[in-house]
Symmetry: none
Subunit: 216 residues, 4 copies
């Protein structure tokens, strides 16, 4: 989805004009992505229309349709461009601080940032469109899941956690409750909440050292 999002992901420096002679206008591309972002923040998901994006970007409608299939493709492209780097978990060399910082960062991203607003809108739309859901996962969620796992993997390497954990399941128990509050209950996701999730996990992992959890 989004024929052009390779440009968002990679560099491809001197690769242009194949059959074509001068390729697309980077200026138009940027204007469209910014317009889409702005409109979402200002008027909400419903207020984003391709017509509105084109008008705000000073671009012809056809130029939007040439490179993106739907408004959600534009939003995804915009989101990937300015939010991909946002959620790298830090590396303090210690599992506890790493997880606490990462969950806190995730909560702030989801509840406070513009990119988080776009993200929530896209998650919402993904519930209505399986093809887009797949694109969202391929373009962002899978990679984010890999980033979520990093603290655990580093802890395993350090010997802080036992090998043989079902990492995916463990991560679900850490980030799942955060998403649950954000997407469903609208309760605040404060530091006390995220810290407590980490505490429970660490406590359980300590016990695992003694042999119980790894054996499941």
């Amino acid at each position: 989805m989004g024929r052009a999002n390779t440009a968002a992901a990679g560099p491809e420096p001197a690769e242009r004009h194949h059959g074509n002679r001068h390729g697309r206008s980077e200026q138009a591309r940027q204007a469209v992505l910014e317009a889409a972002d702005d409109l979402l923040v200002e008027k909400g998901f419903t207020g984003v229309t391709i017509e509105g994006i084109a008008a705000r970007a000073g671009v012809a409608k056809q130029t939007v349709y040439r490179w993106w299939k739907t408004k959600t493709d534009v939003l995804l492209d915009a989101f990937l461009q300015d939010a991909a780097k946002a959620l790298n978990p830090p590396d303090h060399g210690d599992l506890g601080p790493d997880l606490r910082a990462h969950l806190r960062q995730l909560a702030l991203f989801l509840t406070r940032s513009d990119a988080g607003a776009v993200f929530k809108a896209l998650i919402g739309y993904a519930q209505h469109d399986p093809a887009f859901a797949a694109a969202l996962r391929a373009g962002y969620l899978d990679e984010q899941r890999r980033r979520d796992l990093l603290p655990l993997e580093r802890a395993v390497e350090r010997g802080q956690l036992p090998a043989g954990l079902d990492m995916a399941a463990e991560i679900d128990q850490l980030v799942g409750p955060v998403y649950h509050r954000v997407l469903m209950t609208a309760e605040p996701v404060d530091q006390a909440f995220t810290d407590r999730l980490v505490e429970v996990f660490l406590h359980r992992a300590d016990v695992a050292d003694a042999g119980e959890i790894g054996s499941r």
Copy 2:
């Protein structure tokens, strides 16, 4: 939102025709709700339109607008009607079996039933419309959260769990991971997954008996 959804919750038999003389047509109401449900399952959320609902229900557009403000109001009404009773946790008199059955039921509801499909669509739309999100919470999620808490409360009454738990947080750690898989990762939510969530919780709670968790 949804002026008419009291009718969905209760029977109110002999309460009708005040200023009016014969009240609304129950036949039309049912036809609309069924049409909305059918359309959602057949053509997805985007394929549901008030125009389409009216046509499929054999009803005038105005009749829909007379009783519901938006298509999501119709869908919510339909959902409340045929899914309200679905998720009552059983009472085996034992916490473990209660939780295992309840989480399993929740997972099946979300991933297998038609009502679950409607529910996911509504959750998705709620990300785009805060007012609707509030209505969805008021109409369903709050009540469901109360049902989710029942097994824990009964366990406390039985002395199986200590008093003083932060129940909301505990429940988030049980249902959060399930919603996370359903709404975000599209990984299967099989019985092994839900059972494991319960196991972890019970293990933690056992330790709490010895005093650690309650002290937070």
Copy 3:
């Protein structure tokens, strides 16, 4: 072509709401027809667009599309409404004055009036669209031809012309040269020109009295 043009031809006073309940808006209909006329005069045939008609008429595009298939249908309807009565030949009881007045009136209509401008545009478009050409003939030209014939028929009744004339061919020789100048050469079509056409015809007809023309 144009489902509504019966209204242009006849009165049909108390005939409304059959399958429908309150029928179409006469106000909208008039606004559309006037807008189309105005646009043609102001900006030419190419400058007439359905979008422009709707905007100028203060009407939704769909309202235009509901009742007319194309912009030329609108223009034809408009033309039929305000020009049908324009070209009735007078009846002086004498063939010469009748024909002179009628041809003069035709020339003025074609070269001076707004309706004539619309008519020329429609004739032009008819060259590009045989179906529309047929509609134009059915809606106007056939009837106009009947009116053109009236002076000759009255003259035959009066005995001023012999019976047995090929009336269609005679009329072609009177009006043909006028249309030729208007549509092709752009030479002025002044009274001298039209009067001369009549003179030639009358001269020929006089001789015909002596037997020559009727014998063809």
Copy 4:
């Protein structure tokens, strides 16, 4: 209008240059003109598009725009190229046969030939665009009118017709009815019709010899 149509009229013999380098590509020019002609015959005037012409000619759009301003310019150029010679009246040394042959030829050209179809399309468009109408007259109609006059002029030289005739008006009475049937009534223009026009004219001219018509 039509910057390039000298090329249609004149020879420019040994001036060729493969694809590029200096000067325009005669190959591209021919391809464009043929494509325009073909499209008009296949899909009608509306179906002719600069975009379509370029595609069908295997030529870039810009190449069309470089040499012609509008699609009607292309069609006019194409028409002038392959139809200019078509309507030269013959010279039998006798007015009657000359006129009969010429009118018959005109009728056939208009109703039967591909070039006639293009011509009718251009006449139609000329009703919508005065500038193009002028170009069409300058490029074709004026010259054709001169050809139409030839039989009469030769007859005057031969003494078969009196000098002092209003030749333009006379010709209008001969060709006007033909165009009238072709452009407006869609009645057949068979030989009986054209022969009769000539007969009437000759009859009138004979009488004119006796003095009446010349005196007007």
